[in-house]
């Protein structure tokens, strides 16, 4: 939210992910109009299709929708956890924003993940290695980005744990022995270790109790304000979206059905599905 400039950081066009064998009708015969993402002709699954979005530097974009709407697929494609079926993505911090990052080699994708992106998963086990200490997990990310000075790495890990309010005396303990909220904070430390300009957050507070959830959200807000990281926040929880984001995309059956300013989405939703979602908010 700090320095929204007038040029995009990330630009995505026509991003599509299909599991199984599609035919020429698969995209046309799935989506919110059909209430399904399963192709009636080939049974392939259109996890997401025709996703267009722009993210600006320092901006926080929300992606909201029910389970199976394709919202996690979008961030996993952009973080290269999954291979896209179609579409292009440009990242202004890589190759001057002229290269389709989805088509780059595995090595180049690893470079981007290590130097320019961070990801925080819903399940800390997906983002952390429980056989390493919490400090070791952060060190791993720093090592992959080419920092080899042990003293400096330890210093940075300490600083990150302080920033995310994890007791520094537990630097050498495995996250396996941590509470869920603490594990999540170690995961966030690891994800931001290299000061990436882009951070993906996938349902990061789901499954945490409300007081821990508030603490994690507050921490993300503070980090965002202080470091100016652009974020894509995936959540089914509208209060998380309200608290963290400036703009929001609403997804259903693998498609974006509505996008706008977050307060507009929540207070003047246009699409029937968004109206239903908002009216179901407790």
């Amino acid at each position: 939210m700090t320095n929204t400039s007038d040029t995009w950081l990330l630009k995505v066009e026509g991003l599509t992910k299909i599991y199984g064998e599609p035919n020429e009708n698969s995209v046309r015969l799935t989506g919110p109009l059909f209430g399904s993402n399963i192709c009636p002709e080939t049974d392939c699954i259109v996890a997401c299709a025709d996703i267009n979005l722009e993210l600006f530097p320092g901006e926080v974009l929300g992606v909201v929708g029910e389970s199976g709407s394709g919202k996690s697929t979008v961030v996993r494609l952009l973080y290269f956890d999954l291979e896209s079926t179609a579409g292009v993505a440009y990242f202004s911090r890589y190759g001057n924003g002229t290269l389709n990052i989805l088509n780059e080699s595995g090595q180049k994708k690893r470079y981007m993940r290590n130097h320019l992106m961070g990801m925080v998963y819903q399940n800390p086990k997906d983002g952390l290695n429980f056989r390493f200490s919490s400090g070791g997990n952060i060190a791993e990310k720093l090592l992959m980005a080419g920092n080899f000075n042990v003293g400096r790495i330890r210093e940075r890990a300490t600083e990150l744990l302080e920033q995310t309010e994890v007791p520094v005396r537990r630097l050498d303990d495995s996250p396996a022995s941590f509470s869920g909220g603490m594990q999540q904070r170690v995961q966030i430390s690891k994800a931001i270790a290299n000061n990436p300009p882009l951070l993906f957050l996938d349902e990061v507070t789901t499954g945490l109790d409300v007081s821990v959830q508030a603490k994690v959200l507050d921490m993300i807000r503070t980090l965002q304000q202080e470091l100016g990281i652009a974020m894509i926040v995936v959540s089914h929880d509208l209060s998380v979206i309200r608290m963290l984001t400036d703009r929001t995309l609403v997804m259903k059956n693998g498609r974006i059905v509505e996008q706008g300013l977050t307060d507009q989405i929540l207070q003047d939703p246009q699409h029937p599905y968004t109206q239903l979602l908002v009216s179901s908010l407790l």
Partner: protein
């Protein structure tokens, strides 16, 4: 000088798909303007469309038809109805502030940071932002032991003061403020009024909803009255 805000034939209708397509006609052909440095009081009974109009200008509500021309420092003349989301985000950060009737509290953020948030967003460092925030809280008479506490537990009047301080601390160019003095005692009411007067003296243009005659008598250059979503009366400037 052109008006800083020029609302032209603005119409807002809500289509409620969840209620079998029920339509609510909230505002019809509303036109009025706000001059630079002016404070216009928006009056009318509950449900007449005052808050809808304010949220429409802030773009929390999307227009059904009409235009809202705003003279921006950054963009020059811009129609807030058609501006991109990114332009609106930048305008909200640097020029236009909306202060709703109720404080929407962010869990676990202390009062001093809630008030300073817009300063942080503009990139002012934490210490300086907090210092300014404490100064406002002090002038508004919020007990010092509450400054570092979480506003969700505060009384209505305390929350109201946080809300107003939060809206005016960054000295917006255009302030949209909904019932700034409701639930305040007379002394605090006067402090808030004095703060808005000072803001206006610094060049801020203000649109203010209030049911409180005293507040508007002290603040408003002009009044516009809404009834059932229409402008029914507009007073001339008092000079």
């Amino acid at each position: 000088m052109p008006p800083i805000l020029d609302v032209r034939q603005y119409t807002k209708r809500f289509d409620m798909h969840v209620l079998n397509g029920k339509r609510i006609h909230a505002l019809s052909n509303v036109s009025f303007s706000l001059e630079p440095g002016e404070l216009v009081g928006l009056v009318g009974t509950s449900g007449s469309g005052k808050s809808t109009l304010m949220k429409s200008i802030y773009r929390t509500y999307l227009a059904t038809s009409g235009a809202i021309l705003y003279q921006s420092l950054r963009y020059g003349p811009i129609d807030l109805v058609r501006a991109t989301d990114h332009q609106i985000i930048a305008l909200r950060r640097d020029e236009i502030t909306y202060c709703s009737q109720f404080l929407s509290v962010i869990p676990r953020v202390p009062a001093v940071d809630v008030v300073a948030e817009s300063l942080f967003r503009q990139g002012i460092d934490r210490d300086r932002g907090q210092q300014q925030s404490r100064d406002y809280l002090d002038r508004l008479g919020l007990p010092q032991e509450l400054w570092d506490a979480y506003p969700s537990t505060f009384s209505g009047g305390e929350q109201q003061r946080i809300n107003v301080a939060r809206a005016i601390i960054a000295r917006p160019r255009l302030l949209l403020i909904d019932e700034p003095t409701a639930s305040l005692d007379q002394r605090t009411k006067d402090v808030v009024i004095d703060m808005i007067v000072a803001l206006k003296a610094g060049g801020t243009s203000v649109l203010c909803i209030s049911h409180d005659r005293y507040t508007l008598d002290r603040l408003a250059d002009r009044r516009i009255e809404l009834q059932d979503g229409h402008v029914v009366a507009a007073s001339e400037p008092v000079s």
